[in-house]
Amino acid sequence: MLIIGEKLSIIAKKVREAMIKRDKIPVQEIATSQWKAGAGMIDANIGPAEDGGEDLMQWMVTTIQEVVPLPVCLDTTNYKAIEAGLQVHNNEKGRPLINSTSNDPERFGMLELAAKYSSQIIGLTVGKGGLPADAEERASLAAEIMARAAEYGVPLEDVYLDPLVLQIATSQDHALKVIKAVRMFQELNDPPMKTVVGLSNISNGCPKPLRPVLNNYFLSLLMYEGLTSAIADPHEVAPTVKTIDVILGKTLYAHSYLEM
């Protein structure tokens, strides 16, 4: 399973300050540390970035790719910042991932970018009408997004469907609905659709010591249902990913498998 390192987010004070000052060192340290811990892609979350988003995203993409041999997940609602990031992304290190489109017409432009730059894209299963009520609604939104992707010329194997993980502390019943949605998404196409979650959202608002526990157990269940990728902290989830991959027969067991 693909881990998309979540640590380069504007929400973190250290990262925010580095972004403002264009200080490469903390950004590159965090990127490298996530790569070494098992991330296969690095998320660059610059927030809405209404002012100077283009320049900031370009700086993030080049700063990250200067030190790690990985593609970047471009994470912002700013359409122009995404395009700017795609223009400088080094595709020899893997194809970028746009985070994200949805069933909201305001986000369809992201599909246009995915087609234009041959990028992969996350399809978040929400629409104009607020949060999805259950797995079935998530699947029906997914089908809409897939139809839209086809319309814009984005191959379905480049679309990662995101069921939208909600906080367990406030929306406990959605945990199971998300798991079910991951299973249903795969049935929407042959070969199965790819899937992604923003994992740590499950434990958002929970006491700090509980967060890794919730994240890891939730991830195990999602992986069992065939989850393709998770935006997560690789340091926190790598043992779970490796172990579940062994249990599911996706990696050959050896006594030292956790060290690999």
Binding site: K250, T251, L252, Y253, A254, H255, S256, E259, M260
Partner: protein, 324 residues
Amino acid sequence: MLNAMTLRRIKMAFVPPKESYPGKVYAVQIGSEQKGVTVGGENVLPFHAFEGITPNRPVIAYEIQDVPPNDWPEEVQKPYKDVSNDPVSWAKFCQDTLKAGAIALRLMGTHPDRENRSPEDAAKTVKDVLASIEVPLIILGSNHAEKDASVLVSAAEAAKDRNCIIGKAQEANYKTIAAAAMANNHKLIAMSELDINLSKQLNILITQMGFEKERIITDPMCSALGYGLEYTYSVMERIRLAALTQNDATMQQPILGDVGMYVWKVKETQASEVDVPQWGGLEDRSIAWEAATATALIIAGAELLIMRHPAAAVAVEKVIEELI
């Protein structure tokens, strides 16, 4: 009714499905730049050249010993009877007359239950053989874990910078042997006993010592036709699938089939036609036994074979030529 035109269209429209694999076998070069060979390097299952790249054909190394092969059955002693008293003339015979692409020198005489030759004796033999041949050399211990540790260290030093393959490193002695191979710029055989998980584990352990994973040859242990060949076959096949379909970097080493040693101790390569008339002539039968075992293993995924009988090696080369 389909007319000829439609039929042709149908034929043209058919495109055979192609598998592609995320992983690739490491290409391992042995010997000198001019006379050396490379094994591995493919990104497809054995002989699936139509799906990807297979840059190197499997290599057959001819097995010789540091002591006369009194322990070999009569049939396989015969082709070497004029040269096998001396490892140097034996090696030259394999290289010059039999056109061997590589030679495997087994230091059988160092085994404590045999001549118990010293590591220094072994080193001298290695030096003499290396001085007389140009093709790559594989240097093997006597499969006595403890003695091999000292013998192979001396042998590795004696062959310094000749880019040989040293083996076999096993769970019990890998540290010493891997360190010697590393210090003297050799490749290394990592051997486990028909256990896919231990095979992976040994590769990991050796790599964790700082030995490059691209310099290892994996030996999952051979077995002869009729004596567990299917186990070896399955383990090799599983290693290749992990390497190619799961892109498992710890399983992407070329695989060794140490065929001769296992084949030439089973009764089918020794029982005379007088004793078992229904089995047919011993010479043809024993050669076929080695060739059939070796052929099965190259199809399972072995890229490097160690064989004894020249006629069996020639037969396998023919198969390779047809499949490649």
